[in-house]
């Protein structure tokens, strides 16, 4: 099959499409819907991916979170209920034992009301931690300073405010070195945290950070802590994780053979969970897409059969003039593929358009990607070939003498 013939066939196919526009349109509808759905959803998911990955990155790809519960306990949460709390003393011992960690910081939380003068902010997140929190959480003071280990040792009542808290309570006054009330207790503001923005919908500037010893003195030490560990070498995160596990097992006296009675969580668990969810979306999408493509394919087969019958005479003429079976087969196959690819292309265009539209009017993001275009065209062609084969073969097998006499 020389390229000349392919071009000729494509020309004939486009001509046939133009002549029967409505019929062609109806035929390609199935393919169009299938491809539109797939492309639209793919661009949405791709956009979500990018947004998610960007936000998750700020969690730190080299940070481990030693906690009582694993992040995605799900239905098994009751298994972890009986675990002993993680304490400040354990965190201190861990810090002493690790060699591959750059920083270790225990963190604990509660919610309290912040008061300044007449202004109030309710249920603000109060974090109790050490000075090393700056390293593990990549947090710094935009104004003033973070508290020091001395502040912690002396359980000073000093605090660092998040930007959103400042905006809620201080209005025009410069917050630095002012005194605020956290609950009934007076604190000195020594620093303002730099703005961090949103993390997966959660506003990271709505917190207040105080030294952990102060926290435990004022709010009790009955809560289980989280210990954040920053690995020295981001490439060797797994090694640090193993070291942490070994150290924690010793600290908490886990016997050999016993499972860990603590969990080590990391950022890529979030990514994994996210991918599981989007994985499901992809599956649904593929399901819808496949069904539509099947429907579209049957439509194409139908139309091609009609087309072959209508053009029986024409096939007879071509054969009389020297067309081989192969030529006729290719002609109709190319026509079927052209039909399905036109549908596919329009579907891709509409799909992207819809994706962009949704992105413009809603918080959902959308992104264009090359492989989805390739996939869309690929599937359309495959459907065209598969469902066009039978009619094309029928056409090729026609007896020229009978075909010439067909009315």
């Amino acid at each position: 099959m020389n390229p000349r013939e392919i071009i000729e066939s494509v020309r004939i196919a486009m001509g046939a499409l133009r002549t029967h526009k409505v019929r062609a349109a109806l035929t390609t509808l199935g393919i169009l819907i299938g491809v539109t759905t797939v492309i639209g959803l793919v661009s949405l998911v791709q956009g979500l991916n990018q947004s998610f990955t960007g936000q998750v990155a700020s969690l730190g790809s080299n940070v481990l979170y030693v906690e009582k519960f694993p992040w995605f306990a799900g239905e098994d949460w009751y298994k972890y209920r009986n675990r002993k709390n993680i304490t400040r003393q354990q965190a201190g011992r861990l810090d002493g034992m690790l060699t591959t960690a750059a920083a270790v910081a225990p963190v604990t939380y509660t919610r309290r009301m912040i008061k300044f003068g007449d202004a109030r902010a309710e249920a603000i997140l109060i974090r109790g931690t050490t000075a090393e929190y700056q390293d593990v959480a990549d947090v710094s003071a935009a104004q003033g300073r973070f508290f020091s280990s001395v502040d912690n040792h002396r359980h000073n009542q000093v605090c660092i405010l998040g930007q959103a808290v400042v905006e809620a309570v201080f209005k025009d006054v410069d917050p630095l070195y002012q005194r605020v009330f956290i609950g009934p207790f007076r604190f000195l503001v020594v620093g303002i945290k730099e703005k961090k923005g949103n993390l997966l919908g959660f506003n990271q500037d709505e917190d207040v950070i105080i030294p952990i010893r102060t926290f435990e003195k004022l709010y009790g030490s009955y809560r289980s802590l989280d210990i954040m560990v920053e690995a020295s070498d981001p490439q060797a995160l797994e090694e640090t994780k193993e070291e942490v596990r070994w150290a924690m097992r010793i600290i908490r006296r886990n016997l050999p053979g016993e499972p860990d009675d603590f969990s080590i969580n990391q950022q890529d668990m979030l990514t994994d969970m996210y991918q599981k969810v989007t994985g499901t979306i992809y599956l649904v999408m593929i399901g819808i897409g496949t069904v539509s493509l099947l429907v579209g394919g049957i439509g194409i087969m139908n139309i091609m059969l009609v087309s072959v019958t209508e053009r029986t005479r024409e096939i007879g003429i071509r054969k009389a003039l020297g067309a081989r079976r192969r030529n006729i087969l290719w002609q109709f196959l190319v026509e079927a593929v052209t039909l399905s690819c036109v549908g596919g292309l329009i579907g891709i265009l509409i799909g992207f358009g819809l994706g962009k539209l949704v992105a413009a009017v809603s918080p959902l993001p959308a992104s264009v990607s090359l492989w989805s275009v390739v996939l869309g065209l690929g599937f359309s062609s495959a459907v065209g070939i598969f469902f066009g084969l039978y009619p094309a073969a029928k056409a090729a097998r026609l007896n020229p003498i009978e075909a010439l006499h067909y009315e």
Partner: protein, 245 residues
């Protein structure tokens, strides 16, 4: 000199359900280069079947068909298609043009199937249309042409690949007598240029234009006569031909 076509005891039997229908019962004849002959006979005589076999659209059940000394009987579909493409030029009663293609494209069709590059193709097609006087209608579609013009396009298409034989099946059947005569003039010209023409017809006055008439009856050759005034002998081929009556 080699004969163009040599048929020996050609038989064709059709299977219609459980019944066998003999369409041709032993046809033996030969045709030389540059002959202009007609095949005649009532319906059922087998003339269409004979034309199909001569045109390599069908193969005989028995007997040998030598085309330019090559046995056609045993050839496969692809080989037959090639011969139809290069050696045979068909002209049909119902013109059989592609309705959605221009005249030029219709004439190009045989050249597309033997892989001729586009430029050459277009050139040859234009020349063929010129030779039948339709150069100015190259971009018209069949529905924009008269019956006579359509048949001329068909003739141009038959000629474009320079075939060894033109096979015309009732070429004037769908035309009025004046237009029919114009077409016969074209055939005459084509014959003068050295082509071999086989005409299938049931009209006596059309057959009068040809040099030789083979009459079929019930699948056999009933008569095979040369017209005296049109006979092309070896001496006559040196002289200028007698004007067409």
């Amino acid at each position: 000199m080699d004969k163009l076509i040599d048929l020996n005891n050609i038989t064709k039997v059709y299977q219609v359900g459980t019944v066998e229908v003999p369409a041709l019962r032993g046809i033996t004849l030969s045709i030389e280069f540059n002959e202009y002959l007609s095949i005649m006979g009532p319906s059922g005589s087998g003339k269409s079947t004979l034309m199909n076999i001569l045109g390599c659209l069908d193969t005989p059940s028995e007997g040998t068909y030598l085309f330019k000394n090559r046995e056609i009987g045993g050839l496969d579909d692809n080989a037959l298609a090639d011969i139809r493409n290069r050696e045979i030029g068909f002209v049909f009663q119902t013109f059989n043009l592609l309705p959605r293609a221009t005249a030029l494209h219709n004439v190009e069709l045989p050249l597309i199937y033997n892989g001729t590059p586009a430029k050459e193709r277009r050139q040859s097609a234009r020349e063929a249309l010129e030779s039948v006087g339709l150069a100015d209608r190259a971009h018209h579609r069949p529905n924009e042409l008269s019956g006579g013009q359509r048949q001329r396009v068909a003739i141009a298409r038959a000629l474009v690949n320079q075939p060894s034989v033109i096979l015309a099946d009732e070429p004037t059947g769908n035309l009025d007598s004046k237009t029919g005569e114009e077409i016969m003039q074209i055939f005459e010209r084509i014959h003068q240029s050295g082509n071999t023409i086989i005409l299938v017809t049931h009209e006596e006055y059309i057959a009068q234009h040809t040099q030789r008439s083979i009459r079929l009856l019930d699948g056999k050759v009933a008569t095979d006569e040369f017209r005296r005034d049109r006979q092309l002998t070896e001496d006559a081929s040196q002289e200028s031909p007698s004007p067409a009556s």
